[in-house]
């Protein structure tokens, strides 16, 4: 399949001998100069859809991506593959480094940046000097107020593309309902984008939810599942502490290689855990949603949710990491009645309360300009996302421009408008949350119900379908043997020798 020409490039640059579903169609349209909306399930290599064109085109490719860690990850992996002309611009760069990069921007084929950086005049001035041929919006659902991770800075992207001389636009997402897809086109002002929508259900995955009474029961259940047959397993938690605790409990109880991963760990340790998991040096990883970005491990067999996320979209993204090799895999949610508390707390952290709006208004009455974001969050005692919500509305209603607070504004009216939006947002978030909870309690085929908001039909599963259809996680078929690793080496002398590739015994002279 595929035109010989593109396939050659794929082989030459990436070492793959065939495209995965959707990649070639999208790349061909992009090279043809068409704007494309690509909805591809997680794990089929969305990034290849712009990485390959960036190598084949004369002009620069700009990629807007919401997460710095995600960008840095992709750049690292590209560099490891031998691509040198790629860079991630981020606000953590030292002034000196930044200056050097700006002077050589036209040497890069692929430039990653965050949407916030496009608000920076100095940066846009530099970028405008380039011939931008392709403008990619990764995680494009962030553009929609109905997307699960609405990011206010994404709304300004269509303006930015005009400044770069209207390059070809490629909007990519793994999770976008039809409603969100329409919104993406509208917000980008590109009604004629060519849609390439692919199903996200995985025929090789089975689903199950098990109800237990206590949290300790979850741990016991995990022990029995995992010890039944060792295989690469991810366990998702909403709290760092729980991830750590359960990892320790499992390590003590089982003869398996277990680690935890969360955003509170040091950089090197995070990298080490990720590498260990990739290289089959770990059987089980207890993690928060911080893990997984850019993790492309083919043989994950189980994704267990110790805590379930606050929306179906996140859930689909997380289970999408399993079974990328096409072999049987399973998703299991362990559920207790008390699980409702944690998501509620998480939701509350995302949006401000009515009191927070009042506090903001009172503060603004006495000031002429806003402080920088971190300080505003500190002053008003808000989380980052709470402050972002408020800031967006201040700008949107022209109450604030460039941090200066406009005079003679109707603060009462503003307050009412923000409150209104806040209510809508709360309702929306709660609706999404309910959707997730309903799925957990659903009494029908889980597969059908999970994907119903995204697609009309589902493929026929090649494994047992779900617990409604009679599946239990204990039935999951795991054929491969566990891969042993160097971790088994206990003695430091032997480990050092192996590490340094010294086979013969070293005699001390």
């Amino acid at each position: 399949m595929g035109s010989p020409h593109l396939l050659d490039h794929l082989k030459q640059h990436f070492g793959y001998s065939s495209f995965r579903e959707g990649q070639q169609e999208i790349i061909e349209d992009v090279l043809d100069g068409k704007d494309v909306l690509g909805i591809l399930p997680t794990g089929v290599g969305k990034s290849l859809c712009f990485q390959l064109p960036s190598l084949l085109q004369k002009g620069t490719t700009i990629v807007v991506s919401p997460l710095i860690s995600l960008m840095v990850d992709q750049v690292k992996q590209l560099k490891a593959k031998g691509f040198k002309s790629v860079i991630a611009l981020n606000s953590f760069m030292e002034p000196k480094e930044r200056k050097a990069v700006f002077q050589s921007l036209n040497n890069y084929r692929l430039i990653y940046l965050s949407p916030e950086m496009l608000q920076n005049r100095i940066i846009t001035q530099e970028l405008k000097k380039l011939y931008v041929e392709l403008f990619v919006i990764d995680e494009a659902h962030c553009i929609s107020q109905w997307g699960h991770e609405f990011r206010t800075d994404y709304l300004k992207l269509s303006q930015a593309t005009k400044e770069f001389g209207d390059p070809v636009i490629l909007a990519l997402s793994a999770t976008a309902t039809p409603e969100v897809q329409d919104d993406i086109k509208r917000q980008l002002n590109k009604p004629d984008m060519v849609p390439h929508i692919y199903r996200m259900d995985k025929p090789n995955m089975s689903f199950a939810v098990e109800d237990v009474l206590y949290h300790q029961e979850k741990v016991e259940r995990i022990k029995s599942i995992v010890s039944n047959k060792p295989a690469p397993t991810m366990i998702y938690f909403s709290s760092r502490q729980a991830a750590e605790q359960v990892a320790v409990e499992l390590t003590v109880a089982l003869d398996q290689r277990i680690a935890f991963y969360h955003g509170g760990m040091e950089n090197m340790d995070r990298l080490l855990v990720q590498q260990q998991f990739m290289k089959d040096e770990l059987d089980v990883i207890c993690c928060t949603s911080a893990f997984g970005m850019g993790v492309d491990k083919p043989n994950i067999r189980r994704v267990i949710h110790y805590h379930f996320p606050t929306q179906i979209e996140s859930f689909i993204q997380e289970i999408g990491r399993a079974g990328r090799d096409g072999k049987p895999c399973a998703s299991l949610v362990l559920h207790t009645p008390s699980d409702q508390v944690l998501p509620q707390m998480l939701l509350e952290k995302e949006l401000p309360q009515e009191e927070d709006v009042d506090r903001l208004i009172r503060w603004m009455e006495q000031k002429d300009e806003l402080q920088v974001d971190e300080e505003m969050a500190e002053i008003l005692q808000l989380s980052e996302s709470q402050w972002n919500f408020l800031k967006y509305h201040l700008e949107h209603h022209h109450v604030v421009s460039n941090r200066t607070i406009q005079r003679n504004i109707d603060l009462t009216g503003l307050r009412a408008k923000i409150s209104q939006r806040l209510k809508e947002r709360w309702l929306y978030k709660n609706r999404k949350y309910k959707q997730m909870v309903n799925w957990i309690h659903c009494s029908g085929c889980r597969r059908k119900q999970l994907y119903a908001p995204f697609q009309k039909e589902i493929s026929k599963p090649m494994v047992m379908c779900c617990d409604y259809c009679g599946f239990s996680i204990d039935d999951l078929e795991i054929k491969e043997a566990r891969v042993e690793s160097g971790d088994a080496i206990e003695n430091w002398q032997d480990r050092l020798r192996t590490l340094f590739l010294q086979e013969t015994t070293y005699d001390k002279t």
């Binding site: 593959k81 040091e266 192996t498």
Partner: protein, 357 residues
Amino acid sequence: MFEAILLKCILSLKGERSISGIYHLIQGKRSSQTLQDARIYEIDRFFGVYPQLNKAQVNRVMDQMVNKGWIEINEEGLPAIKDAGMNYLASSFINKKHYFNGMVYHRHVTIFEKRLRLLIQTVTCTQMNNLSFLPIEDDANIQKWVKIKYKEHRPKDLVKALFQEVYELLLTVREKEAELFTARLTGGNLTGRTREQLALRYQMLKENVDLNIRHTWFYMFQQVINNPRSFPALFICMEGLQANDLITDSAKQTYEWLRRGYELEEICKKRRLKMSTIQDHVVEAALVMPTFDITPFISVENQETIGRMQAALKTNKLKNLYESLNRKYTYFELRLVLARTNYAQKEKNTHGQPTSS
């Protein structure tokens, strides 16, 4: 080890400094207060040995030590050591012979460590034809440095030489340290273990995992810098790491102006800094540079007067000294003299490097 270091600090500080003060010292906060504490209370070897440390970790272990009856904390929040704590400390090698030398080397050891970690990963992976490994060090400067060194040497020789030198050095440290150190390295087909994994495997505090490994790095660093000819491969990682005594860059600039003969007031104007800041720099220079002359700021007779009073009072608390001398001298002058006197004592006490254990 962590507990022993805390106990040693508590003991040396004689109940005159808070837990925060101890935290800043071990973490390596570059304020002149912290630097001065480290020097005058003679715990400068622990300065900056644990940069990743956070306050909560210190508080947690302090609470545990209170519960164990090793220390007590008074109403003002000042900790003091008790008999049980003394006994524990006496049993630890931290109280006898250790290789931490933070004030002088903490920044160098960090760079040495990062370079060597990445160099080992690079030479062993490329040797296996794995050219697409993910570097375990993110620091762009370190990556650039390793790239240059990699090109300057034959990887094959480097793998062998690094192995032999590391192996030889690890044979001379405690078994536990060698195990932890090796387990944390990444190279060839092996991925390093995280501190959490090691803490669990060896049933020790996470802080002790970090500090044991850090101690090995200090040991290695000093062995290599003192015997470059015995460790030529490791010495590659020493490039540019000459002992540079002045701690902060800002203090260094002030020192340069002083050397050119400028008065403090002039330096204030030139650098647009407050007098107190410039004075901090001078004290810092007095603290860390053995050759720094303080007589331009306070006469020899006055130095002697202050020194005598300090010896009589047996305290390092500036306020007591200030009052006892009838407020005749400024705090700046007192701090300078304290920095000097203690420096002289210090040199006598710790003369000569400890030999291998």
